[in-house]
Symmetry: C2
Amino acid sequence: MTFRVGLLGHGTVGSAFHDLLEARAPAIEAAVGQRPEISGVLTRSRGDFDDIVERSDLVVELIGGLDPARDYILRAMAAGKHVVTANKAVLSQHGEEIYDAARRAGVQLRFEAAVGGVVPVIRVIHETLAAAHIDRVHGIVNGTTNFILSEMTRTGASYEEALREAQALGYAEADPTEDVSGRDAAAKMAIIARLAFDLPVHLESVPYQGIEDLTSDDIAYAKELGLSLKLVGSAERLDGGISVRVYPAFLYGAHPLASVNGSFNAVTIESPAITEITLSGPGAGGAQTASAVLGDVISAMIPPPTLPAPALDQPLITDVESAFYLHLEVADRPGVLAQIAEILGLQEVSVKSVVQKGLGEDARLEMVLHPVLESKFKAAVDLIARLDFLRSPPRWIHVIEETFEESP
Amino acid sequence: MTFRVGLLGHGTVGSAFHDLLEARAPAIEAAVGQRPEISGVLTRSRGDFDDIVERSDLVVELIGGLDPARDYILRAMAAGKHVVTANKAVLSQHGEEIYDAARRAGVQLRFEAAVGGVVPVIRVIHETLAAAHIDRVHGIVNGTTNFILSEMTRTGASYEEALREAQALGYAEADPTEDVSGRDAAAKMAIIARLAFDLPVHLESVPYQGIEDLTSDDIAYAKELGLSLKLVGSAERLDGGISVRVYPAFLYGAHPLASVNGSFNAVTIESPAITEITLSGPGAGGAQTASAVLGDVISAMIPPPTLPAPALDQPLITDVESAFYLHLEVADRPGVLAQIAEILGLQEVSVKSVVQKGLGEDARLEMVLHPVLESKFKAAVDLIARLDFLRSPPRWIHVIEETFEESP
C-alpha cells in the first residue's frame, strides 16, 4: 500500500526531504505497513497544484513565506488532505485561520519543523506535557545568532567579525536581518506560546530585540562574571496573562541554556509537575529540517506506535573499542615507563598523552590511550598489574570524546 | 464521558499520580473530551485485582519489581485493557513476553516513566526519530549516581561522604546498591536499546560497572583536564551488531552530557539525519514520574492532537518584570553614583551589585539590578541618559537567573 505525498517546493529543504523519503521508504514500509511515495512536486517552473493535491493523501509545504504558501495550505486542507509544513512565517501570522481550517476539514496539520531545528518542542508540549500546566518556556531558537554570540565569546571577535564568519560558513544569509533582529526567533516563540498557553499570538504582537548592538565589552563582562550572553525567547504565564518576548540576556552559569553553544537550538520548558525539561540539538539545516518533516509525515500516516517493533536478528556485541584513562602508581626508577609502554604496544594500545608526577620515591603516571578493543586494553592492564614496581593496582576509566563539533 | 483508570500500587509514585490525575481531570476533559477517573486502587491491603481490571479502560501499574507486577500486566492486557507502567525491572527482564502479549491483545502499552525521569526519550525515539536511523544513544539515566559524582566534583568530597549526603537528602536509598552498582542504569539502557535498535536486550546481558570505586583522585584528574566524570549508559550500532553497556567515563567538555549536573538525567541520541538531540531534566522523583505516567494515560485516551487547542481568552502582557545589567560610562567625579542611585530609587529599581572601574578621567559603572517592571527600568534609563556627566548612551541587557537549583 502506498501513501501519496505531494511536495510543494524543491529548494534546499524540499530536495533534502525528497531524497530522505526515498532512501527511508523501505524501512518505513516495514515499520508502518505503508510505503510513502512522492506523488508530485510543485516548483515555480513545474507541476500543477490542483493535480498534485488530487493525487496525494498528504501535502508537504516547503515553499516558505506567506504567499502562495498560505493559499496552498488552506486549499489542500479544504480538499481533505493532511498538511505538514515547516513554515514559521505563515503559522505566526495566519495561524488561527489555518488551525480553524484544519479543524473544520478534520485533517491533521503538523509543523514540528517550523520551530527549533531538530528539537521536538511541539511534540513534547502536545504529548509529554499534555497533563502539565506549563509556567514558562525559554528558548534559544535561532542558530545564526547563537553561533555569532558563541564566536564573540570564544574568540573575542566583534559582532561584525563574527557575523562575517557566520556568513562565510553558511550559518548566516547575505542579508541577515531576519535572524539578527530577533524577528525569526519572535515568529517561533509566537508558535510555541500558542501551544503552551492556548493563546493566539501574532508575530506583530511579540516585542523583539536583536543582537546587532551587542559589543565585545558585553561579552567581556559576561566572561568576568561567569555568565553567558544569549538571544533568548521567553513565553511565560504571569499574574493576569501571558508574556512573549525575544531579547538578549545574561544567563547565570547553572541555567540549562547557558551551555548551549554554536549554531545549536535549545528549549527549556518549566512546569510545577515536572520542574523542567530541556531539549537541545543543531539548529535547522536542510537535512535536519527534512528529518523533522519526515517524522511528521510518518506520524500522520499512522498513530505513533506504543510498542517496540518486532525484533531484528542481530548480535549483541560485548567487546567494544573505547579510549581509556589509565592511572598507575609506580616506583620512580629508570626503565619503568619503557616497560609499561612495551606491554601496551604488544596489545596494540597506543598512548595519546602521559603525565608523570613525582611523589618522593614513587611516581604517578596518568595516561590517556587511543581507542582500542576493551579486551586488549584489559589484557594489557592485567600484565601491567603484575609488574613488581607497581605500588598499587592499576586504575582505569573510559574516556568519551565529543562526537559532534558544534563550531568549526 | 469518563475514562476509567485502574491503579495498581499506591506508594510514593502511585499516590502522587492519584492526586495529579484528580487535580488535572477537569483540564484533561476540556482538552480531550473524556474525564479520567480512578476506578479502583489495588494495594497489599485493599482492592481486588480482577474487579479493578473489569471496571477499567486502562490499568496503571506502579507496584514495581517483577512479581506480581508481571502477572498483573499480562492479565490486564489479556482482558483487553491498555497498560501504562513505570516498571523498568519487568520491562528489562520480561520485555519480549510483555510486548508480544500487547501485540496479540491489540492494546497499548506505554512506559515513558520507566526510563530517564521526566525526559521523554521513549516518545522521541518512537515518534520524532521514526524516520531516522539511530547510530548511538548516550545517557545519564541514574540521578543518584549523577548527584554523587557532581557533589564529589563540586565539594571535593570522597565517594563515601557524597553518598551519605545523597542519602540524607533523599537522593539515595539506605541500600544504594541498585543505583551505585550501575544496575538501575543498565535496566534503562536495555529498554532504550530495544526501541532504538529493534534488538531484544535482557538486563542480564548488559555489562555494567558502577561508581563505588571512583576516588577523589579521579575527580581531581578530570578537573585538571577540563573533563567531566559521569556514569554513562551507551547503546550503539557497531560493525556486526549492537553494543549496550554502563560504565563511568570521562567526557570532554563539549560533549552535551558533560554539563549535566546534580540529580539530573539526560540522553543524547545520534543519527546521521539529525546529527544529535539531547533531552535533559530532573531524574525521577514521585511527582515527575507521576506526570510522565499521566502523559502516557492521556496519549492512550486519544491519539495525540496535531492542532493547538481552541484559544483561551487571556491577555498578552507586554510590561514584564526582569533583572537587568546596566553599563554606564561617566565622568569620574564626586556625586555621580549618588545621582544615579537616586534616579533608580525613584523608579523603584534596586541595585543588586555594582562595580566601578577607573578609565583616566572617566569611570565605568557595571550594575546588576534586581527584577523590576521593564517600563520603570526604561524610565530610569531615559532619565539617566540625560545626565550631563554621562560620556556615552547607557547600555543595558536582560539578566536571567537559573530558576531551578540542581543541587542544594
